[in-house]
């Protein structure tokens, strides 16, 4: 605050309270204080001054990597009461230096989205609606179908040459998954004899 303004206000006895409220007027603090562009302290109110970011309240901060494009920006995941409360860029990364793009910045919603499906959904052949299905039962049904289709389409030979494979089962996807996951996929599929394994990374 400009000294002149302050001294004039002091001259009115009984108006101390008022002046202090005027002193709270952000425009005056902007003009008189250091924050000329009002992007920091000059823009704060009594209430906002006492607020703290939810990152401060986190029980723990976990290091992660953004799941969108392949730049591989480092993320910090803030967890409170076993829920993700915020995801921010990690300044330590030599690649991203703390930055995230709009997608990376929105990635908390990827985790906490209200439309995220968290229960198994099942559509029977010719069905017109989704049905509930127990996860354990679903896994068992899938295993049975793999065994059945694998056998049905099993091929020891093609044109007299050994092929040892099934052309009945295919798989698509992998570029959004972890290396360890891709590894188990390729290992299991190859042992099954399934060869039509593909993902987004054709080139």
């Amino acid at each position: 605050m400009r000294p002149g303004l302050k001294s004039r206000a002091d001259g009115y006895c009984g108006f101390v309270a008022l002046t202090s409220r005027i002193g709270e007027w952000s425009l005056l603090r902007q003009l008189g204080g250091r924050d000329k562009l009002a992007r920091g302290e000059a823009a704060q109110s009594v209430r906002s001054r006492t607020l703290e970011p939810r990152t401060v309240q986190a029980d723990r901060i976990v290091d992660s990597i953004c799941p969108y494009c392949a730049v591989g920006c480092a993320q910090k995941v803030f967890v409170k009461d076993e829920k993700v409360t915020q995801i921010e860029g990690s300044p330590a990364s030599p690649i991203s230096r703390g930055r995230l793009c709009p997608k990376g910045s929105a990635s908390k919603q990827l985790v906490t989205s209200p439309t995220r499906v968290t229960k198994v959904r099942y559509r029977r052949p010719h069905g017109t609606e989704w049905e509930d299905l127990d996860l354990d039962k679903a896994m068992d049904m899938i295993a049975e179908r793999v065994i059945r289709t694998r056998k049905e389409f099993w091929e020891w030979e093609s044109d007299g040459r050994r092929t040892r494979r099934t052309l009945g089962i295919a798989s698509l996807g992998g570029a959004t998954l972890d290396n360890e996951e891709n590894y188990l996929m390729k290992k299991l599929y190859t042992a099954m004899g399934a060869i039509q394994i593909e993902n987004q990374a054709r080139i």
Partner: protein
């Protein structure tokens, strides 16, 4: 990535994002880096602050162009004509970095006298079989190499070569992801580069007609603009300066995609920009671990570490399998050790020398088993079970209708995702229900939707765009039934093995003998680090290996992916290293782990001159220190892990009969190549020619001015299906070019972005971008609706009339392009027609990737609904003369357009 793989030996970006700041000139082409890789783009901006010139060559003026020093609009699909002209400019004006070119590239190698160029054969190379639409590459060999082992049979798995049954072989070029294809002998060389058959002269003749005038005619780029690019690149290359090239799917998604990257590789090799700080080729990949899922492939034709899948007609035993590579020069010569270690990793104690290490447990290929062939097989009834895991082909793959018709003809489908994506709901709300092409209760597909864990609900590693593995810790447990893929596949394997236990059927042995026992963490989830350790590999004493050089072919070592060997060195998860960048130098070698061997810039021995000294103080990176080793011996030293044998002196000349790494000379920086050189000319390993050649996309509005007799890639792979009709080129019915792209605020097929409120608010609706000239021609109103039509279907989108899309002048005619973001589908908070439904399938013969560019018509207003839509599209096909096996009575009744 055979474009980079055949050129330099490894199919990965040769450099890293941070090193772009050291560039003096950056050419971004086939990429809108500022919008598709925004955080990576900070390093381009950093370079610019240091004085670098940034050039963006792209059909659209984007945020990348806005920050570039120069934007050059180009007709989509014409990149090779442009790059070829830059190569011609360098060669005819002697602007190449001659010492680098002679020493480090195959410019001096002599080509077989039977080789004939496209200039002599009206647009095809020698060895072309028009009946098969494929090449026999025998005549492309180096001189003297053909006698060595009857080259025609030497590598019979060559792509495009028909086998005895007349079918196309699988894409062996994929295997050059790490290790270039084998050549039989070190070629004869003429280091004066004057011999008419030396690669340098062959290249010069091949590109002689790629002139600035031709660029204007093909690409719509004025000669002055071309000259500015050529001058910037050549002025900023040489001993003191380096230029980098960045690309993304704007190059890869083409029927000549591999050759576009090859053209950039040739240019960078001629300018001496590979293996040096500020140089290189930065491949910008689109998914968090797309590099990882190629290295450890969920791909049909390779095993981990780019070991090829065996072929039924060639590989009956392990010996046959490794014969093509075993004992060859360079590190690929140790192929047997890599293959045996993988088999040991998968089948453990059961894999013994006596049983060929269970080599026979591997299924064999008989051709192209890529995704589009698989979809065709689904439609035809030959493939009945399908797992779709973190991908959304109903929106993200070309020709969406074909995808959905395939899905509708399965016995069972498992979809694993976080949101209810279109691939899981095609039976409920797919576009074919509206048109009557599918009826819900007639679809017999049984569908399991299993919810997936998110990236913070599981621990694991991604391999990002510069080959870096970065580990994520688990923050929280996944909710409800959500599971990681690690848990899902482990559980599935356990159940299948339990159900088959006791089986005596030989077909079940690979499953029952599989090593499938991983520890679990406190929450009962599979411990990802134990899987990473298996990938890394273990030695005879069971401890983690630290380098692939330790791998043996006697069964004493196990390794799940040889190029990742070292990621668990010293029993430490090296991918989890997170030393802040402010505590390290610029290379930041202690953040994450990069394959191979934590090398950050590949081929960095080339950052030094042949004698081992830095090319210049300014571009010093890795060099030979004659006293650098222990006991006063010499050693390669510098800022990075040397991509070379650490103690091999620059003057080392290998023995004539040397094999494997022993055969690498002291001046051979490309250690994965059999001859140690960067390949300007690819004598073996590609399906569509040894040098990039301009061909038009399969659907093009113009004839090919360079080769009037050869319109499109002669080795193009067609997917013949009634639901994949192709627009005829130069058709007045489909007069415009369409091209697709990403927006910053959305991600690929939209499952991870159209479901998020923040992102949908930022980009709420699909749109098409058109020039003011096209808007006027077709009465398109800014903010109104337009219908875009191809032979496949018609979609609608909001119109954005903008000068960001330039009308291009090609000779005496104007070319108009329609830009289409491709993120939308029927589900999510924001929905709309899928752009990929427009795209036809015609594939690059090396990698089976489709053209993202095609031709179309555009009309004002919304598209017809229901059956009227198929009739509308069929009427277009008839007018264009498209062969139309789908035509029905309905279509004819609806023909009123």
């Amino acid at each position: 990535m055979p474009g980079l793989g055949t050129s330099f030996g490894r199919g990965g970006a040769t450099t890293n994002l941070m090193d772009l700041q050291n560039s003096d000139c950056i050419l971004i082409q086939g990429s809108n880096m500022a919008e598709a890789h925004p955080v990576g783009f900070q390093w381009v901006v950093e370079a610019q602050r240091r004085g670098a010139t940034v050039i963006h060559v792209d059909p659209r003026f984007t945020r990348t162009s806005a920050l570039a020093d120069l934007h050059v609009p180009i007709r989509a699909g014409s990149d090779i004509a442009f790059l070829g002209a830059l190569i011609n400019h360098v060669l005819t004006n002697d602007l190449d970095f001659r010492e680098y070119v002679v020493a480090y590239t195959n410019a001096a190698a002599l080509v077989d006298e039977d080789f004939r160029d496209t200039e002599e054969l009206d647009g095809v190379f020698s060895g072309y079989d028009p009946e098969q639409g494929s090449y026999d590459p025998t005549s492309w060999q180096y001189a003297g190499a053909t006698e060595a082992a009857a080259a025609g049979q030497r590598d019979p798995g060559q792509p495009g070569t028909p086998d005895s049954a007349g079918r196309h072989r699988s894409a062996r070029s994929e295997t050059s992801g790490s290790g270039g294809p084998a050549v039989e002998a070190k070629p004869e060389r003429d280091e004066t580069l004057q011999h008419p058959r030396c690669v340098f002269q062959v290249l010069k003749r091949h590109y002689a007609r790629y002139t600035p005038e031709m660029v204007q005619q093909v690409c719509g780029i004025a000669p002055e603009q071309f000259a500015r690019v050529a001058d910037a690149l050549t002025a900023n290359s040489g001993p003191e300066r380096t230029s980098a090239i960045c690309y993304a799917v704007g190059w890869t998604h083409h029927s000549v995609g591999v050759q576009k990257i090859r053209a950039a590789s040739i240019l960078q090799a001629l300018l001496g920009n590979i293996g040096r700080p500020g140089g290189g080729i930065m491949a910008l990949r689109g998914h968090a671990s797309i590099q990882g899922s190629t290295d450890i492939p969920t791909l049909f034709n390779i095993l981990p570490g780019y070991i090829p899948m065996p072929l039924a007609h060639e590989h009956e035993s392990l010996d046959d399998f490794v014969a093509e590579d075993a004992g060859k020069t360079g590190y690929w010569g140790n192929m047997r050790a890599y293959a045996v270690s993988l088999l040991k990793s998968w089948w453990g104690d059961v894999a013994t020398e006596e049983n060929d290490y269970c080599f026979d447990y591997l299924p064999r290929l008989t051709g192209n088993h890529g995704t589009y062939e698989t979809v065709k097989a689904q439609i035809e009834g030959g493939c009945k079970g399908y797992f779709v895991v973190g991908e959304n082909p109903a929106v993200g793959s070309a020709n969406g209708k074909m995808q959905r018709l395939g899905l509708a003809n399965l016995d069972w489908l498992v979809v694993r995702d976080m949101q209810m994506i279109e691939t899981a709901t095609f039976w409920k709300n797919g576009p074919e229900l509206e048109t009557g092409e599918l009826v819900t209760d007639e679809i017999g597909t049984e569908i399991f939707f299993l919810p997936a864990a998110s990236h913070v609900e599981k621990a694991g590693s991604f391999t990002q765009t510069q080959r870096m593995l970065q580990w994520r810790d688990k923050a929280v447990q996944p909710p409800g039934d959500c599971k990681s893929e690690l848990d899902f596949y482990y559980d599935l394997g356990e159940r299948i093995r339990a159900k088959l236990a006791g089986s005596t059927d030989e077909m079940d042995r690979p499953l029952l003998d599989l090593t499938w026992d991983y520890p679990k963490d406190d929450e009962g989830d599979v411990d990802g680090e134990s899987v990473l350790r298996e990938i890394n590999g273990t030695g005879p004493d069971g401890t983690a290996l630290s380098s692939y050089t330790e791998l043996k072919d006697d069964g004493s070592t196990a390794c799940g992916c040889w190029i990742y060997c070292g990621v668990y060195a010293d029993e430490v998860n090296q991918a989890r290293r997170r030393k802040p960048h402010w505590e390290q130098d610029e290379v930041a070698a202690e953040w994450g782990w990069v394959w191979p061997a934590n090398r950050r810039i590949l081929y960095n021995r080339a950052s030094a001159a042949p004698d081992g000294t830095p090319w210049s103080e300014r571009k010093k990176y890795v060099w030979w220190d004659a006293d650098g080793g222990e006991e006063g011996t010499g050693r390669w030293v510098g800022s990075d892990v040397p991509d070379f044998i650490p103690d091999r002196p620059p003057d080392h000349v290998p023995a004539e009969d040397a094999q494997g790494p022993d055969a690498i000379g002291g001046k051979d920086p490309f250690i994965m190549q059999t001859d140690g050189k960067a390949w300007l000319y690819v004598p073996v390993g590609l399906a569509d020619g040894p040098m990039p050649t301009h061909y038009e996309p399969l659907e093009s509005p113009v004839p090919n001015p360079l080769y009037p007799e050869q319109q499109s890639n002669p080795a193009i792979e067609n997917i013949e299906s009634p639901v994949n009709p192709i627009n005829p080129s130069f058709s007045e019915v489909y007069p415009f070019v369409f091209t697709s792209y990403r927006l910053t605020e959305h991600h690929t097929a939209g499952g991870m972005s159209r479901t998020l409120p923040y992102l949908t608010e930022l980009q709420p609706e699909p749109f098409c971008e058109v020039s003011p000239r096209l808007a006027q021609e077709r009465n398109l109103e800014h903010g109104g609706w337009a219908t875009i039509v191809t032979a496949r279907t018609a979609i609608e989108a909001r119109v954005l009339v903008t000068q960001r899309i330039r009308s291009l002048r090609l000779g005496d005619r104007w070319i108009e392009q329609v830009g289409l973001p491709y993120h939308w589908g029927g589900n999510g908070i924001t929905s709309g027609d899928s752009q990929n439904d427009l795209v036809g399938i015609a594939l690059d013969p090396n990698v089976h990737i489709q053209d993202k560019v095609g031709t179309c018509d555009i009309q004002p207003g919304r598209r017809p609904r229901g059956r009227a839509l198929t009739a509308y599209v069929a009427a277009y096909r008839r007018r264009a003369g498209v062969h139309d096996p789908e035509a029905s009575a309905d279509d004819r009744e609806g023909d009123d357009s």
